[in-house]
Symmetry: C2
Subunit: 224 residues, 2 copies
């Protein structure tokens, strides 16, 4: 599949790396292509420039060019810039496409622990769907670390859960297929996009668990 | 141990039943003892009057009398009345005691799904600790159904997680012992009482899961 991954941080790179490995045609979308490719200071394991050299088959393009050519778009941008990044990608380039939204509504401006800038009776997933009504938004993967998202087997064979929320059943089936190809064995459909409120509000617990456990390699399993 | 369970709903009864079964000396605390004992309409499996007949060794007392005689107090009242109920129990009767707080800050006044009336940079657990600074508050069990709280083996032998949050390490050790006696095998200490923000914000996801799974007999396991 031709897939655009919007966002050049750890989440975007983890997704792009794994999708490339699985044989998809991947473009990473960014605001400023030249600026991104000129980043030679490591952020994460390596710099973006070094990461690009290690992934010659992944293209780095503008948000709009990546989204225009894609059949499926992954939003892996930070929550605070998500709506701007998607606007730069262009509503027309998202229309009719599955939009896998991984963004988290964390506000780090007041330090740690961050607070949620959307919660309660709204969610970032809903805001994305409302802003781009023709996109087929599926919220998923936003409850775990990037490594666990794409390589769930890191946590052993016992299984753990990935939630999907969205209004479009066919779009959720496409995302479920993608998650299964990553190795996820328990994809749990919570319902429509308003159920993203619940998974987005899991983040404060996730952050405290990271502190208590001293690792970000963990996940929730719904035992039933 | 002499234990007061404040609250006569499903959570209070489940706790009182299990603690009684385990040999503790249990008093259920309520605002109006005569009124509570006169409740003959089933709410839950049976009415309170019938439940009391089935539990002759459990006393039903005022919030204050139950708390005064107790070594450990369990707050199983609804979130919206928690601070009032604890005020009725009396700050002096809670001073120096372990206060296991199970309450959830759900507001059902606008229908389903309910919203949280405290969240973000505060929690009901913190409000309880702030209002009763001499109580040794431990937030726990607030992330699962009453049956699962007291009979975790209902979900099989694989184990699942119960979180504890609190400022007093000794109080958390006492609560951990109690949870272990219920059958919990994974008691995870998140840290101080501010970590209750995370577990209280898990409720919206819990409610959506109940809808998606069609059961309230499930729990989260932190796989790591």
């Amino acid at each position: 599949m031709r897939i655009a991954v919007l966002g050049t941080g750890m989440v975007g790179r983890a997704l792009a790396d794994r999708l490339d490995e699985l044989g998809h045609e991947v473009a990473v979308g960014t605001r400023d292509v030249a600026g991104t490719l000129a980043r030679t200071v490591p952020d994460g394991e390596v710099s973006y420039a070094a990461w690009q050299r290690e992934h010659p088959s992944v293209r780095t393009e503008t948000f709009a060019a990546a989204a225009a050519a894609a059949e499926l778009v992954v939003n892996a941008t930070g929550g605070t810039i998500t709506l701007d990044a998607l606007a730069a990608a262009g509503a027309a380039n998202l229309a009719g496409k599955v939009l896998l939204d991984i963004s988290v509504p964390l506000d780090f401006s007041k330090g740690f622990p961050p607070t949620l800038f959307v919660s309660g009776d709204d969610s970032l997933g809903e805001r994305v769907q409302a802003a781009f009504p023709e996109a087929r938004v599926v919220k998923a993967l936003n409850t775990m670390n990037a490594e666990v998202m794409v390589r769930p087997a890191l946590l052993g064979d016992d299984g753990h859960t990935v939630f999907v929320s969205g209004d479009d059943a066919e779009a959720k089936a496409v995302v479920t297929g993608l998650l299964t190809s990553f190795g996820h064995t328990d994809v749990l459909d919570l319902g429509d996009i308003t159920t993203a409120r619940g998974t987005e509000m899991l983040l404060p617990l996730w952050l405290r668990l990271m502190g208590a456990l001293g690792t970000h390699v963990f996940n929730f399993k719904v035992v039933r």
